[in-house]
């Protein structure tokens, strides 16, 4: 078996190319902030980024001007407000978009995962359809005569995801909220995974039902504890809601957002420094919060 452990710098440099389509994992839970920030640090441009419900990580990637296009069902700062960098880019027409719905994005990924070019669905046949998805076709079922929309497959070049743990070979174990993370990963040609902890293969074999992605699909594994902050990781740390709330004010102002990105992305040389910026008080609070290591059932 090949040891696939790597550094975040090498994993991104060796696997991601300018112009790639990237699926980014995490549905409120397990958002790969630190791993995806490396795209910004390495200035890999002309990217298409996709997922169903996208939060402030998408906003940060858009603000960093490395994104050519987003394919999404939702983009915002959940409950708090809008994605201000997205709104600005949309109004300036400096970003291309394909606007779907959460279910249709997930079905697009599912089609790619199953190796078919489309799946039928009842949605997206009524209501207003964004002009950027006008190519969506309707089909008639050969058995019943019923009409369906033919949801086209979406096969990303690469998926970036975060999980609780993996062994060095790339068997990935994940629990808690998944959303479309596993769907998107398995739909993609390559998968890079950051984890809270690298564990032994014998530990993996104790509960193989927790393994959601098998080693042969994974390109690289990187141990990045706290790499999903300010989102959360069940069994490790809770979500920093305050960070999301403050990000709203920060991202309304382009200068403030630049200093935020300098502080949280550009100047951060390794995951230890990221953890240092989060700070011990916050770390303790989040470990004790809901779903954190000190507050498990």
């Amino acid at each position: 078996m090949i040891d696939k452990t790597s550094t975040v710098q090498h994993a991104i440099k060796n696997n991601v190319n300018a112009g790639d389509t990237i699926f980014i994992g995490g549905f409120g839970h397990l958002i790969p902030f630190y791993l995806s920030h490396e795209l910004i640090r390495q200035k890999i441009v002309d990217l298409t980024i996709c997922r169903s419900g996208a939060d402030i990580l998408f906003d940060q990637l858009i603000a960093s001007e490395i994104v050519k296009k987003i394919i999404f069902g939702y983009v915002g700062n959940p409950t708090v407000g809008l994605s201000h960098s997205f709104s600005r880019a949309y109004k300036k027409k400096s970003i291309e978009i394909e606007e779907w719905t959460n279910q249709s994005i997930i079905m697009r990924l599912h089609a790619a995962r199953m190796g078919v070019s489309f799946v039928p669905s009842k949605i997206l046949q009524i209501g207003d359809k964004p002009s950027n998805i006008a190519y969506l076709k309707q089909i008639t079922c050969p058995y019943t005569g019923h009409k369906f929309s033919a949801i086209p497959a979406l096969k990303p070049d690469i998926a970036l995801i975060h999980a609780q743990c993996a062994d060095k070979y790339g068997n990935v174990q994940m629990w808690g909220i998944d959303g479309d993370t596993i769907e998107g990963a398995l739909a993609s040609d390559k998968i890079i995974v950051s984890v809270e902890k690298i564990i032994s293969n014998s530990k993996i074999k104790e509960s193989p039902e927790k393994t959601v992605i098998p080693s042969h699909r994974v390109s690289n594994i990187i141990e990045l504890p706290w790499g999903a902050y300010p989102s959360y990781v069940s069994g490790y740390y809770s979500r920093d809601d305050d960070h999301y709330i403050e990000y709203d004010a920060t991202s309304r102002d382009e200068d403030k957002l630049s200093s935020y990105l300098k502080n949280w992305v550009h100047d951060v040389r390794n995951i230890k420094e990221y953890k240092k910026i989060i700070g011990n008080t916050k770390i303790k609070e989040l470990e004790e919060g809901l779903c954190g290591v000190k507050n498990e059932d």
Partner: protein, 246 residues
């Protein structure tokens, strides 16, 4: 028991009215915000059998602290089951989830909802968050209840963009041809309950001590006096409010 509804915030009043509407349902597709509060309130009072289902894949959840995302710790913590989003959307499409609750930035006379843009799609005044799962729920759920704070700016004749399709005579015809459920049947504001007819919303009933003028103030639709007496609330709903007080 006489309830003084004005003691409660507008959002709490919506949750109170909506909780009664959930009686008899076993599964509810829930979004974050007022919909989640309303479903929790029903579960804690008049409909303990109700299973709350979130698009993140959490089933049998009961968030008793503030949740910002459908994937938040408070949704995951204490859920009976966590599956993936494909599973819950598949259940939704298969007609296996009874009732859904939605809110939006704009609503029109036929219950079309807008969460995409204010203004034109290509050149909007405000670019909003997009559908998320709202379009999908509005197309697929057998019983759809819409929850809207009574803010006249959000009530329009025709939405700027129909993110989530409504109902009424013409849309129902198209829905029928596509084998889709009828669409939104109930609209709840912080003052009143409306029901869908072929010609759009009808005022059904109002909270006690609210006037017709208050219940319809600033709404652009032509509305007649309510067809039913004041909204009745089971006292257990009011007692349970303390538990969703975050």
């Amino acid at each position: 028991m006489k309830i003084d509804y004005r003691e409660y915030s507008p959002n709490k009043r919506i949750a109170i009215i909506a909780a009664s509407e959930l009686v008899g349902h076993k599964s509810c597709f829930v979004g974050i915000g007022i919909p989640s509060d309303a479903a929790c309130l029903a579960k804690l009072s008049v409909e303990p059998e109700l299973n709350l289902i979130y698009e993140s894949g959490a089933i049998g959840a009961l968030p008793l602290s503030k949740s910002y995302s459908t994937g938040s710790p408070s949704i995951a913590h204490g859920a009976d089951m966590i599956t993936d989003s494909l599973t819950v959307f598949s259940d939704l499409q298969a007609g296996r989830i009874d009732v859904g609750l939605l809110s939006a930035a704009q609503i029109d006379k036929f219950g079309n909802l807008n969460s995409t843009v204010i203004g034109g799609y290509d050149d909007p005044k405000i670019r909003m968050v997009g559908s998320g799962g709202a379009h999908d729920i509005a197309c697929l759920i057998p019983n759809l209840i819409i929850l809207m704070p009574h803010d006249p700016r959000r009530f329009v004749d025709t939405v700027d963009f129909a993110t989530s399709p409504g109902s009424g005579r013409d849309i129902k015809k198209i829905r029928e041809q596509l084998n889709l459920p009828e669409g939104p049947s109930v609209l709840i504001t912080d003052k009143a309950k409306f029901i869908m007819s072929d010609d759009g919303w009808l005022l059904h009933s109002m909270l006690d001590n609210f006037t017709f003028a208050e219940a319809t103030e600033g709404l652009p639709w032509s509305l007649k006096p309510p067809i039913s007496g004041p909204i009745e609330t089971d006292p257990s709903i009011i007692s349970a409010l303390a538990q969703i007080n975050y």
